[in-house]
């Protein structure tokens, strides 16, 4: 392999054809260069072997397209270290964290292990322009003992000075990066993570590593993209980088680094793809892209570079970049967690307020129509719910009973429940004709419900106490149950579609005569669909049996209310309430308690 260029200060650059013979020649040239530079013999042996292993990999793994490309080798001998770089045109490989030895009878696979064992640090930078294997090792004996003459003595002194200079530079870089980290940590503890703190943080970083430009994006899952949080020059205007792999810009090197979880390097004579957002920084460019992950979660991606074709950063500078970026990643992650905790507390507080408001919308004292009494109950599965019950007295005519269930739970359902209650309360004139009332409610609410794909099931029951009649209208709601002590339990379905399904729906209005002793139950499906800890449903039949028993025992409304709650609790035991649960009981009054049956009632077969 011919010597192409040799820069001063103990750097050997070689370039040769892609074959094993040229690699051996390069290794011999490296050996001679190490000997001239006063490196210890055992270290020379090791570096010769490392150079051959690295070079053999560049030759043996190359594809047909890479055969015509040269293998470039660069050796740098510092006073305290030796660094070898081998640039290949192979498809590249995944560098494991720890190189393992193969089985002792394997004929291949020891190269990476040897390189790893004989050096202190190994990294593999992959880029569209080829890949660079970097091997670094601290020298066991810094050059000094060549001296046997005055000339050699002066060489040794110069070498010692160079050693001290390099060590001072490394110490200064370490001190600067530590100081910058402390400054940032202090700023971060003093206040929230502000934009100006992050800006200053990156200016410090650029200054320490000698970056001429940089761009840092943070992952914003809610926006589905990586957004520029901090950048220099033309990086400020970079478009968001979508996190979805099917969208444009995914061919950029930032996206590649994020997808591979590994650093991506770019340098050399090639131009960036025009579609790569980083191309807006111009040309030539040399840079490193470092994806920032905290606990395997993407936090951001940092790109830092120079306007050059040369490899941009030394190993020490890359370490500083990594330290900065990873520290910032942890700070951002912690800030995000704090923000989430505050948001959860805020939402919890707001939900408590909403629950209070919703409870205040329930009737506190129910009307007492002549000859009847009412009791109602509503319980939400969450802080707020979509169930509603209301009782509205209509002057000299009777009482309108309302029960409703808005599709879904939580705040959206609660909002519609409140709207429905107010609409009903606004039209007492329609109360005595629940079928027409329901059609009007559907007209009024249809547009709003349809827009958000929601619906409400409602049951309106108008009680005329003088005539002992119920007029019933239902918009897709559970049937009304009427139990007679000597007879049976009747289901009144009165079917119409839920509100919000059909703009011009009509609702039938059957009339039921209430015989003496009847018990009426209006309910939501949260009651029939109660589950016990084993997952079994309570079901409508069990409710009908209970109601028949209540009628048989002539339970007054309040007592029936309490008994139904006890019945539901006994069934549910420790199981969670999955849905909002609401009911209204209507019973005769006054009516003296008769002797209750000694055994629980069973529903006659004809009543089921």
């Amino acid at each position: 392999m011919p010597l192409v260029t040799s820069t001063p200060a103990r750097v050997l650059n070689l370039s040769g054809p892609c074959d094993l013979g040229a690699i051996r020649d390069a290794a011999r040239a490296i050996r001679a260069f190490l000997e001239q530079s006063g490196v210890a013999p055992d270290e020379i042996d090791a570096w010769e072997l490392v150079a051959v292993e690295a070079g053999n990999n560049a030759v043996n793994s190359v594809g047909p397209n890479g055969l015509a490309q040269p293998v470039d080798v660069s050796l740098e001998i510092g006073p305290t270290y030796v660094e070898l770089r081998v640039h290949d045109h192979t498809p590249g490989f995944e560098l494991p964290d720890h190189a393992e030895l193969p089985d002792s009878l394997s004929e291949h696979g020891r190269g990476l292990f040897l390189m790893s064992a004989l050096t202190d640090r190994i990294s593999y930078l992959r880029s569209p322009d080829g890949n660079t294997l970097i091997l670094w090792k601290r020298r066991a004996t810094p050059q000094s003992s060549l001296a046997a003459s005055n000339e050699a003595d002066s060489l040794a002194v110069a070498s010692l000075e160079a050693t001290l200079t390099t060590m001072t530079e490394e110490l200064a870089a370490s001190y600067e990066s530590l100081a910058a980290i402390f400054r940032f940590a202090a700023e971060f503890n003093r206040s929230e993570l502000t934009q100006s703190a992050v800006d200053q943080w990156f200016r410090d970083l650029a200054s320490i590593v000698g970056a001429e430009w940089y761009v840092f994006r943070t992952a914003r899952p809610e926006a589905g993209a990586l957004i520029v949080a901090c950048a220099s020059g033309s990086g400020i205007g970079l478009p968001p980088l979508p996190l979805d792999s099917k969208t444009p810009h995914r061919d950029g090197l930032e996206a590649q680094a994020v997808a591979s979880h590994k650093d991506v390097w770019f340098y050399g004579i090639q131009n960036l793809a025009a579609t790569d957002p980083l191309a807006s920084f111009g040309s030539p460019l040399a840079f490193i892209v470092h994806p920032v992950y905290v606990n395997a979660e993407l936090v951001g991606v940092l790109t830092a570079g120079r306007y050059s074709q040369q490899a941009p950063f030394s190993a020490v500078q890359v370490n500083i970049l990594h330290t900065f970026a990873d520290f910032l990643g942890i700070a951002l992650r912690n800030a995000w967690i704090r923000e989430q905790q505050i948001r959860v507390r805020l939402v919890t507080h707001e939900l408590e307020i909403a629950a209070n408001i919703q409870r205040s919308l329930l009737p506190t004292r129910l009307p007492e129509p002549r000859g009847f009494r009412l009791a109602g109950h509503s319980q939400s599965a969450n802080e707020v719910g979509g169930d509603l019950f209301d009782v509205m007295k209509v002057d000299n005519q009777g009482v309108l009973l309302v029960i409703a269930d808005v599709m879904g739970k939580g705040v959206p359902a609660a909002l519609f429940a409140a709207i429905l209650r107010n609409q009903i309360r606004a039209r007492p004139d329609l109360a005595s004709h629940p079928g027409k009332f329901m059609a009007w409610l559907n007209q009024v609410l249809f547009t709003d419900l349809d827009r958000v794909d929601m619906f409400i099931t409602v049951q309106l029951v108008f009680l005329d106490p003088e005539a002992r009649e119920l007029r019933v209208a239902s918009a897709g709601h559970c049937p009304l149950l009427v139990a007679y002590p000597e007879d049976r339990v009747v289901e009144i379905a009165a079917d119409g579609p839920p509100l919000g399904i059909s703009r011009h729906a009509e609702f039938p209005e059957p009339v039921i005569h209430l015989a003496q002793g009847a018990r009426v139950l209006m309910l939501t499906d949260g009651l029939t669909e109660l589950r016990d800890p084993e997952g079994s449903l309570l079901g409508l039949d069990a409710i009908k049996t209970w109601l028949y028993d209540a009628a048989l025992r002539r339970r007054p409304a309040a007592e029936a209310h309490d008994a139904l709650l006890d019945f539901a609790r006994a069934f549910r035991r420790t199981a969670l309430l999955r849905d909002d649960l609401t009911f209204i009981v209507l019973a005769d009054y006054p009516e003296p308690m008769l002797h209750p049956p000694s055994t629980p009632a069973t529903l006659p077969s004809h009543a089921r």
Binding site: L20, G21, I23, R24, D42, D45, E48, L49, V52, E53, N56, N60, L101, S104, L105, S106, E107, H108, G109, R110, G111, F113, L114, A117
Partner: protein
């Protein structure tokens, strides 16, 4: 690189370096020279100044040839730096290193 038969041993000598370019030669030479009564293969490494992972692999291949004959590969004359390479890769457990050829 040349071979010589000594009783039950095939002796390989003249190995100056055993890098990736020479490793296939060693395999081929041993396969071509091995007789049915050879149980041992002796690769004289006294003049060998360089071995890489491919070279080690070729010695493993030679070892597998005689292992089936209850034989062994002997490596006399190994220099300390190269002996260290066998230790590092734990291949010193499958080869014999006689102190004198």
């Amino acid at each position: 690189m040349k071979t010589e038969s000594r009783g039950d041993t095939l002796v390989v000598s003249g190995v100056q370096n055993l890098g990736a370019d020479q490793a296939p030669l060693l395999r081929e030479l041993v396969c071509a020279s091995l007789k049915p009564d050879h149980k041992f293969i002796e690769v004289d490494l006294a003049g060998t100044t360089f071995i890489d992972s491919e070279g080690l692999g070729s010695l493993v291949a030679v070892h597998k040839i005689v292992a089936g004959r209850a034989g062994a590969v002997r490596l006399p004359g190994v220099r300390p730096a190269i002996r260290e390479l066998f230790r590092l890769t734990r291949l010193d457990q499958i080869f014999e290193f006689p102190t004198s050829p």
